[in-house]
């Protein structure tokens, strides 16, 4: 594992450099916007990465909450299975197919629903107990960083193209901003809370935040939108060469996010070990601590 980290870091650096080269040199210039549009290769991959991380946070928080009791864990398991099955079957019903927004293919929706269900079980399998909470805090922190990038690059791009920095009431802008606010409040709660109960409270807040996002989206349904349709799964269209660069960029960002999350996760786990050791030391007393402290991990 330890050898993997530097290798992956080097690969990520190369990939990021390659993505930057592709974005600035190889990708064709936009017919309407000129070179300004090239910020898309930072804006959109950051957004996708941030949403993915927030989703991971949501799943980890749910898992953490339901694991408190055996009965809720079973119930949650069956609910997720039901969502997966119903979601896949529903996309084959013509009435549902017609109600999907234009450009959204039923097969893509079915795959997404299935992936979400599988993802839930994978997270539950790979992470257990305290590790779920560590995953939640890691993904929330890194997600907030990427979301900040989105919120900074967005206005920078909007100013020359739309003529305004920010479109108040825009559906995508507002929901991203609210998402950012919710997760910042999540991090503030973690910072301000006493250590013993933080994890439960934070998990509950994450669930509330996830419930809030669709409502934010619907609350501004009638407001005009200025943001273009999503490139993938929406009605937007894009030059395949641009899409190719965009996907390379996203891959680079994903690798980068994964690396940051990995080191943040390790930091968090070390931090907790140290805390436990201190607590143990306080309990057992200085004399007995020499043998029982698990602080000597670094020499292994």
């Amino acid at each position: 594992m330890k050898r993997l980290f530097p290798i992956l870091s080097i690969l990520t650096v190369i990939l990021l450099a390659y993505a930057l080269y592709e974005a600035l040199v190889v990708a064709p210039t936009d017919a309407l916007q000129g070179d300004v549009y090239r910020i898309i290769y930072y804006h959109v991959p950051s957004a996708w990465t941030a949403f993915l991380l927030f989703f991971i946070n949501f799943v980890a928080s749910i898992q953490y909450l339901v694991r408190a009791k055996r009965s809720t864990e079973l119930a949650a398991k069956w609910i997720v299975i039901a969502i997966g099955v119903v979601g896949v079957i529903a996309t084959f019903i013509p009435a549902v197919q017609h109600s999907l927004p234009t450009g959204m293919r039923p097969s893509a929706v079915a795959t997404t629903v299935l992936l979400i269900a599988i993802f839930y079980f994978l997270i539950g399998r790979w992470f257990a107990g305290d590790k779920l909470d560590m995953l939640a805090v890691t993904s929330a922190e890194v997600g907030v960083v990427f979301c900040t990038i989105v919120l900074v690059t967005g206005p920078l791009w909007a100013r020359p193209v739309w003529g305004i920095w920010w479109a108040p009431g825009d559906i995508r802008l507002t929901s991203t901003l609210v998402l950012w606010l919710i997760y910042v409040s999540y991090l503030v709660l973690r910072r301000f809370s006493n250590s013993a109960q933080t994890q439960m409270l934070a998990a509950a807040l994450a669930v509330f935040g996830a419930l809030d996002v669709p409502l934010v989206y619907f609350s501004i349904w009638f407001f005009r939108t200025q943001h273009p349709q999503p490139v993938i799964g929406g009605g937007g269209s894009m030059d395949p060469r641009m899409l190719h660069v965009l996907l390379i960029s996203w891959l680079a960002f994903l690798c980068f996010a994964f690396l940051v999350c990995w080191s943040r996760f390790r930091l968090e786990s070390l931090h907790r070990e140290v805390e436990q050791a201190h607590a143990m030391e306080a309990l057992v007393g200085a004399g007995a601590s020499k043998t029982s402290l698990p602080l000597s991990r670094s020499s292994q």
Binding site: L189, D212, S219
Partner: protein, 225 residues
């Protein structure tokens, strides 16, 4: 189920009686929102036509801030003499406590609104151009939306340092859709330009979703150790 309602009622009556004798929360809220209104009157000096467009926002901002004042005091009473700890070890359902607190707060904020709305009407020369009776469902559902989450987050922020600051930090981001719906709904009714039905349905959805979530998670929050 029976015990849930009787316990809810008992706690609610106790809270109302305490509030009736001390009038702590109500006085604080009333004076606070009165000041907010006065400051708004000085800051904005609109014509009657303009005020229809902005007063929805002003009213709800005033009530939102006033509600936070009341919500912060919700659980403070129970911390004294370890009443909350006694609740925790008692076999009473946790949700009875939550419902009583939420209903009590709802009642206080509604009383506040009943007293403050005439002031807004006087200061801003308001007259609804749309169907005015729809303001009642918007106000009722909107207040419940603020209060149910506020009660929950107040219980959550009990476990944190500087809890008075924590409550608005947690409550406001989650309340944004409800606030949008309340403000847009009120504006739609006052100006009569479009229908407020969509916003009433949205508020109803918000209330159902978050009341369910609060009831499902409150026990976990109360017993989180």
């Amino acid at each position: 189920m029976n015990s849930l309602w009787s316990l809810t009622l008992a706690t609610l009556v106790k809270d109302i009686r305490l509030e009736w004798r001390s009038k702590d929360a109500l006085n604080a809220m009333l004076f606070f929102s009165l000041q907010v209104v006065v400051i708004f009157v000085f800051s904005f000096d609109p014509l009657a036509e303009e005020s229809r467009h902005i007063v929805g926002g002003l009213v709800w901002v005033a009530f939102l801030f006033a509600a936070v004042v009341a919500l912060n005091q919700t659980w403070a009473r129970e911390l004294r003499n370890q009443v909350l700890d006694a609740y925790r070890v008692s076999p009473a359902p946790a949700n009875a406590l939550f419902l009583a607190k939420a209903l009590g707060n709802f009642l206080f904020v509604v009383v506040l609104q009943a007293l403050m709305v005439p002031l807004f009407v006087v200061f801003y020369n308001l007259r609804a151009l749309g169907p005015g009776w729809q303001l009642i469902p918007v106000a009722g559902l909107g207040t419940w939306a603020l209060v149910v989450n506020g009660t929950f987050f107040a219980a959550m922020s009990l476990r944190t340092r500087s809890r008075e600051i924590m409550l608005p930090l947690l409550l406001f981001p989650i309340s944004i859709p409800a606030v949008i719906a309340m403000v847009a709904g009120t504006t739609a009714i006052l100006t009569g330009e479009n229908s407020a039905h969509f916003y009433i349905v949205l508020l109803l959805t918000y209330d159902v979703v978050f009341t369910t979530a609060c009831l499902a998670l409150f026990e976990t929050i109360l017993h989180a150790e």
